[in-house]
């Protein structure tokens, strides 16, 4: 199953339904403020901010190109250990920095300024890991977001239709969703990628397909509660079209659980993409993508741990950020937790 738990908001569907879109906007501003009040969410936002910063400024920050092979130009072997220039003159003579220096030196990470600096060492093809980590931020951050966005759009459409119109359509759609949910998510994703061929694009498709039912379910239960509300009956009496009711009443009221579930879903998506790379379905080894970088070097974890550590930490930060933000959003949007 792809869903981790039934969000509280789904358990209590009558909470905070509002008749107008206008009131919703005020709700969002409050929600945002409320989210940021929680410290753990602040941590999440900070981490995400850092990652986005790295992604945006990667070309500037990266000392080398993403695909630049250094075997001949620098005469270094692949998988060379990190080499950090610690004894630079302009570093002030502060105790802490000196301690850092000696730590790095005693662990073999420092190197004289004559040698080229590679903060995170070289990967299996002789490319600079630090640069690839930076460039990888672009792909890895986007991949999770794209996978979830795609699933949210389709899932919402399905859930709206099923929940609002009910009847046999609802039945059929939900049975189909159940079938997908009964598959172990990762294995279904593996099957899809195996059928289509390895690659990031196919992996994103697989992860999306696997999570569509989650969002469909969430939106459907909201749609069901909304359609019973008075203001919907009033709308109908006034002759408002079904489509307009869907988009102006049902949809806005479904957004809150969607946002929460979606944010948490990005975290899951990133992990699943990494898992797909791990089992060898990641595709293009030249492209810098954290999951792929980690997967390519996993058998070197004991001999060259830096190759697994750095992409692993980045994935962890990526997932952590979205988990914390999603948690915060959930708490903020559930009125019963406001004290």
């Amino acid at each position: 199953m792809a869903v981790e738990e039934i969000p509280l908001a789904e358990q209590h569907p009558t909470a905070e339904l509002g008749p107008t879109v206008q009131a919703q906007r005020g709700l969002w501003r409050d929600a945002l403020r409320e989210t940021l009040r929680r410290r753990s969410a602040r941590v999440g936002v900070a981490v995400l901010g850092l990652l986005v910063f790295l992604a945006v400024f990667a070309p500037v920050l990266a000392p080398y190109g993403e695909r630049e092979v250094l075997i001949e130009s620098e005469g270094l072997r692949p998988r060379t250990e990190p080499c950090i220039h610690v004894s630079v003159d302009w570093v002030p003579d502060v105790v802490v920095l000196r301690q850092v220096e000696s730590f790095l030196e005693s662990n073999g990470f420092s190197c004289p300024s004559a040698e080229p600096q590679h903060l995170m060492g070289l990967d299996g093809n002789g490319r600079d890991v630090f640069s690839r980590v930076l460039f990888g931020a672009r792909v890895s951050l986007l991949a999770g977001v794209v996978a979830v966005s795609f699933a949210v759009v389709i899932g919402t459409a399905l859930g709206l239709v099923a929940g609002f119109f009910g009847g046999w359509l609802d039945n059929v759609l939900m049975r189909v969703m159940d079938v997908f949910l009964a598959f172990p998510a990762l294995l279904l994703a593996i099957a899809i990628v195996t059928a289509r061929g390895p690659g990031l694009f196919n992996a994103i498709i697989a992860v999306s397909v696997v999570t569509i039912p989650v969002y469909a379910r969430v939106v459907r239960s909201r749609a069901i509660s909304v359609r019973e509300q008075d203001f919907v009956a009033a709308d109908r009496a006034l002759g408002v079209s079904e489509l307009r009711i869907l988009t102006h009443r049902v949809l806005p009221n479904s957004l809150t659980p969607l946002v929460v579930q979606g944010t948490l879903g990005i975290a899951t998506a990133v992990l699943e993409l990494a898992a797909l790379s791990f089992v060898g379905l990641g595709g293009d080894p030249d492209q810098a993508e954290w999951g792929r970088m980690l997967a390519l070097e996993r058998n070197q974890i004991f001999t060259s741990p830096h190759l697994v550590l750095y992409p692993g930490v980045m994935i962890m930060l990526n997932v952590l950020a979205f988990n914390l933000i999603g948690d915060g959003l959930r708490d903020a949007l559930d009125p019963r937790l406001h004290r």
Partner: protein, 561 residues
């Protein structure tokens, strides 16, 4: 031979056997011998099928001349028969057991080997126990346990933590770790494989010989070996690896010459470079290619330096093989591991008449020379023909051989008799560990079945080699053919079409029954005749039979295209 005649021969042979028994040092009576009359020799004469459609095989007759003598008669001369007969897929099983299991002893094989199968915990381990009645020196270690893991890091950590005593396929980056660890020993395995860059010569622009040759000159093989292969690997200069007979010393090969590559490209009409489309490969580590993704990436980089553009096309393993078979790959990376040490094992499958479609329709001149070489008996002539094949191969360049991939095994330092076999035939009966009566070995994967006639995976073959023996064997840790169940090397007639094997006397199977020539004949027959009731196996493909003896009797009809 008819049954009547064979009986007569047997009677005569018995006399000879009885005479030799008197000289026998052991003084043991063979179980079935001497009594006479019990033994009804099996014999099969299919010589009328030689060269007749649909039979493509080379075996004409197979007979138990007497209880301890087996004769093979071939349609055409084959000087490599001993090397083939030593292979694990033609291990000898008791005829009765084959019948009992319906031709499918895949989880309960019975053999004559130094170990017998004690238990197979599916998914976890295989436990072998010493055969106390072994005809040769009993194994020093009482129990051998096989375990498996696909991850090289995991195998290493099992070894380092002491949970296992030996591992297969040490990761290329772990060689240094093992070598530097005093409690472990690293043993390199001579490369008997080849890694190549292949072309489908039917599709443009790969159909231009000059383009293919340009690629050959553009590859920096040393850089690949240096950076992506473990110690013991070598640059490939021909399709055969050293260690295979007819390997040509000092063969002409493509050197790393970027200028020449650009020249050839210009000559072919592409002075500004060319796009060769996808470079297809699968991310499946193999002995000839332990780091597929990294090598593909580097090749792409190298080719781009002379203006050849390729895009990396990583395919899933099953899909890749499917495409290779169908001839749907363009530029691709693949390789080959030796099964038995003979040039036909490498050449014929890939570039012989009726070989794979991987490279397109192939070249007639290459077909011709390979067919001739396979049928030649004289060693010197053979070598010359294969040298000619090398020249044609280099000119036509359906593939560029790049590397012979070395691999290694690692054992605890205290393991006596630890060795690596170039054919991946490690013999555990030669190993012992002081103070331990159990030896634990960890390889890459679990056998799918233990009836070696119908297995192709080295993981399965290694296990069943401990249990079943063939008429001949490869020496421990090498490729030299030595006697095994046959007491001596076989006698051949002048044309190399008739081979006679004398079995050892007094050999018993793990179930106590005695080994006789009928067991040999039946073991072979079950594979040879596709319509034999015992031709069942695990998945019924008996792939190695085709490679060793050319084809099946009564093969299933070829389906319509």
């Amino acid at each position: 031979m008819t049954r009547l005649r064979s009986g007569l021969v047997m009677f005569v042979a018995l006399g000879l056997v009885a005479a030799s028994c008197a000289d026998d040092d052991e003084g043991e009576d063979s179980d079935d011998g001497g009594g006479g009359g019990d033994f009804t020799a099996l014999a099969y004469d299919e010589s009328d099928q030689c060269g007749q459609d649909p039979y493509t095989g080379n075996l004409a007759q197979l007979e138990a001349v007497d209880e301890l003598t087996v004769r093979f008669t071939l349609c055409n001369p084959d000087v490599a028969l001993p090397a083939k007969v030593a292979f694990s897929s033609v291990g000898i099983h008791p005829a009765e057991h084959l019948e009992e299991t319906g031709g499918s002893p895949i989880d309960n094989p019975i053999g004559t080997g130094p170990y017998r199968l004690e238990a197979w915990e599916q998914g976890s381990q295989i436990v072998l126990a010493r055969n106390e009645e072994y005809w040769g020196d009993p194994a020093p270690t009482a129990t051998v346990v096989f375990r498996w893991s696909e991850e090289s890091a995991q195998r290493l950590i099992e070894l380092q933590s002491g949970a296992v005593d030996g591992i297969d396929n040490v990761g290329p980056e772990d060689f240094a770790t093992v070598a530097g660890d005093d409690s472990l020993q690293l043993i390199e395995r001579e490369p008997l494989n080849v890694f190549y860059l292949g072309f489908n010569v039917d599709t443009a622009p790969l159909d231009d010989e000059l383009v293919r040759q340009a690629v050959g000159y553009a590859i920096d093989k040393d850089r690949l070996i240096e950076n992506f292969y473990p110690e013991g690997s070598q640059v490939a200069d021909q399709f055969l690896p050293p260690g295979i007979p007819a390997y040509e010393d000092g063969a002409d090969a493509y050197t790393y010459d970027q200028d020449r590559a650009r020249e050839l490209l210009a000559e072919a009409g592409h002075p500004d470079g060319i796009d060769l489309g996808p470079l297809s490969y699968r991310n499946e580590p193999r002995p000839y290619l332990p780091q597929p993704a990294q090598v593909a990436s580097d090749i792409r980089d190298q080719l781009s330096q002379v203006g050849i553009t390729v895009s990396l096309d990583e395919q899933e393993s099953g899909a890749f093989i499917d495409n290779a078979n169908a001839g749907d790959l363009g530029l691709h990376m693949l390789g080959w591991n030796a099964d038995f040490p003979d040039p036909t094992n490498f050449w014929d499958f890939h570039f012989g008449e009726g070989g794979t479609l991987q490279f397109g329709t192939g070249f007639d001149d290459l077909h011709e020379v390979l067919t001739e070489a396979a049928g030649t008996v004289d060693e010197a002539e053979r070598a010359a023909l294969y040298a000619e094949a090398n020249d044609v191969f280099m000119q036509r360049a359906p593939a560029i051989p790049i590397a012979y991939g070395g691999s290694a095994v690692a054992f605890k330092a205290e393991v006596d008799g630890a060795h690596a076999s170039p054919l991946a035939n490690e013999a555990f009966a030669a190993m012992s560990l002081e103070g331990q009566d159990q030896l634990v070995w960890m390889q890459n994967g679990e056998p799918s079945g233990l009836y070696c006639a119908d297995e192709t995976d080295g993981e399965a073959l290694r296990v069943c080699e401990q249990i079943n023996e063939s008429l001949l064997a490869y020496e421990v840790g090498g490729t030299e053919v030595i006697p095994s169940l046959a007491a001596d090397m076989p006698e051949a007639n002048d044309e190399f079409t008739e081979w006679t094997f004398e079995l050892r006397d007094g050999v018993t199977f793990h179930d106590g029954s005695a080994l006789d020539a009928n067991d040999v004949v039946q073991s072979y027959r079950a594979q040879w005749d596709a319509e034999d009731p015992l031709h069942v196996g695990r998945d019924g493909t008996f792939t190695y039979w085709g490679a060793l003896f050319g084809g099946f009797l009564n093969p299933p009809p070829e389906a319509e295209a």
